[in-house]
Amino acid sequence: MSMKKEDEVRLIELAVAGDKAAASDLIRAHQNSLFAYMLRMSGNPDIAEDIVQDAFVRVLLNLHRFDPRFRFSTWLFTIAKRLYVNAMQKHKPLYDSEIVGSRKGDWDEPNEPALALERDTQARDAIGRALQQLSPEQREIILLFHQQEWPIALIAEYTDMPEGTVKSHLHRGRRRMRKYFEEHESEEFLARFSDEVVIQ
């Protein structure tokens, strides 16, 4: 969900004044992207959930300090990143569905929706595993650029790195991901995303 800058500023003003509906709209506008980012960064849905919730709480409690000249999402992600760094000092990234992908049951053949769910889970796990092959900087920059679609200049500002360094992390990270998929994932898995990658 995206919204115009002026609409977002208006929502922030209302939320600062104590308007519950405006605060709800702000959360709904950003919760999917922030959760997706944190899920890929941490590799753990529980940690991602805790971080996202805590980040929204902190942001809303300090909303009066927000400078509308900047992007709200950048501020939100910055707070979430700090929480992520703290959380990572306590937990190690965990992809907990290895079990799901390798388990063989004696029961009847699963029906089609169950198979689809299984394939989704496997795909998510494969992405997570590929991301975990990357350095934290590469993972962060790849997610911001390709998942969140932030421009290089904004990522450079957010990560406090020169744009050339950002690009360097981006390119190396992409190659490592490609290599990982080539070596570890089946053609069938990669073909799932083929609709989106047709060379024009």
Binding site: L14, A17, G18, D19, K20, A21, A23, S24, I27, R28, Q31, N32, L34, F35, A36, L39, R40, E49, V52, Q53, F56, V57, L60, L61, A123, R124, A126, I127, A130, L131, I142, L143, H146, Q147, I152, E163, G164, K167, L170, H171, R174, R175, M177, R178, F181, E182, L190, A191, R192, F193, S194, E196, V197, I199, Q200
Partner: protein
């Protein structure tokens, strides 16, 4: 070879599209979205002739596509709002917010109206709303005050606690206006006299007299007291009414008092007159002896009790 760092119009070097394998840098430029439309045709023509590079590009784009797979996020709204609400002391509904908005607007209008009213009042009666810390002449004060005794008391209490009027201040001679808290002693009183006179020093209208007491005061007793004191305080009295016969003032006093405010003060606290009435002096009280000692204050005289005035002679 380096990928293009800038806008797509700058594109990769066309030499890169020559013979040989498409380098990784060029593939990065494509994936970074930095290859312009003009260059893309030549580039993809080159890629089509390089199955290995084309395969790398496709594989990478598949990996990137996997990153964009939608993630189903839980709804954080309720739990976040609940936590924040507990920490900041609740949220406002749209209706509450609108009410507060209206309240702010109303308060703003009230402030503007108050300032406008003060300005209008100041224009109509200059000096009435003087809020400076410096003592000002109180001449004309009683004329400008409302007949409403409660408003009178409120206005009076907001004024300087004690002011000595000078005859040169205006065409009104005011003996003394005391706006001090009444001593919490039953039976004490304050009296204020005002003698309007013209430039020639003649009284232009009968003098006015204001009495502040904790009990209704007999006009007859006031006259008696005043007469006694002013006769003893000839010098001060003469200074207040240049050229005016003493008898004229004294003779007119009972009649004047009859028309003035008799202010009954029920409680003394913080110099506020908490209970004020505008009770006219009843005729039967004229015949009664004074029930309370009356304290009349004149310039040059300290508020005194009985007997002290004779000491001044």
């Amino acid at each position: 070879m380096k990928p293009n760092d800038g806008a797509s119009s700058n594109g990769p070097d066309r030499d890169e599209f020559g013979a040989g394998r498409v380098p990784d840098d060029l593939i990065d430029a494509i994936l970074d979205g930095e290859v312009g439309r003009e260059d893309s045709k030549a580039l993809f023509a080159k890629l089509s002739a390089d199955p290995e590079a084309s395969g790398d590009l496709n594989a990478t784009r598949r990996a990137i596509g996997a990153l964009r797979e939608p993630v189903q996020a839980p709804d954080f709204t309720d739990r976040v709002l609940e936590t924040v609400g507990q920490k900041r002391g609740g949220w406002l509904s749209g209706r509450d917010r609108r009410l507060i908005g209206f309240g702010r607007i109303a308060a703003g209008i009230a402030v503007v109206a108050l300032i406008g009213g003060m300005y209008a009042m100041e224009r109509a009666r200059p000096g009435t709303l003087d809020v400076s810390g410096q003592p000002k002449a109180v001449a004309g004060l009683t004329n400008s005050l409302s007949e409403s005794s409660s408003q009178f008391a409120a206005e009076l209490s907001s004024r300087t606690r004690q002011e000595m009027a000078r005859l040169s201040d205006s065409a009104f001679g005011v003996v003394q206006l005391l706006n001090e808290p009444m001593e919490p002693t039953p039976g004490t009183a304050r009296v204020v006299f005002e003698w309007p006179f013209d430039e020639a020093g003649e009284f232009s209208s009968p003098p006015r007299m204001l009495v502040f007491s904790d009990q209704p005061v007999s006009a007859a007793s006031l006259a008696e007291q005043f007469s006694s004191i002013t006769q003893q305080a000839g010098e001060a009295e003469r200074s207040l009414r240049p050229g005016g016969p003493l008898e004229r003032l004294i003779d007119s006093l009972p009649k004047v008092v009859d028309r003035q405010l008799i202010t009954s003060i029920g409680e003394f606290a913080n110099s506020r007159f908490l209970q004020v009435s505008n009770t006219p002096v009843k005729s039967e009280t004229r015949e009664q002896p004074p029930q309370v000692p009356i304290l009349i204050t004149l310039p040059g005289f300290e508020p005194t009790g009985e007997g002290e005035s004779s000491d001044r002679e």
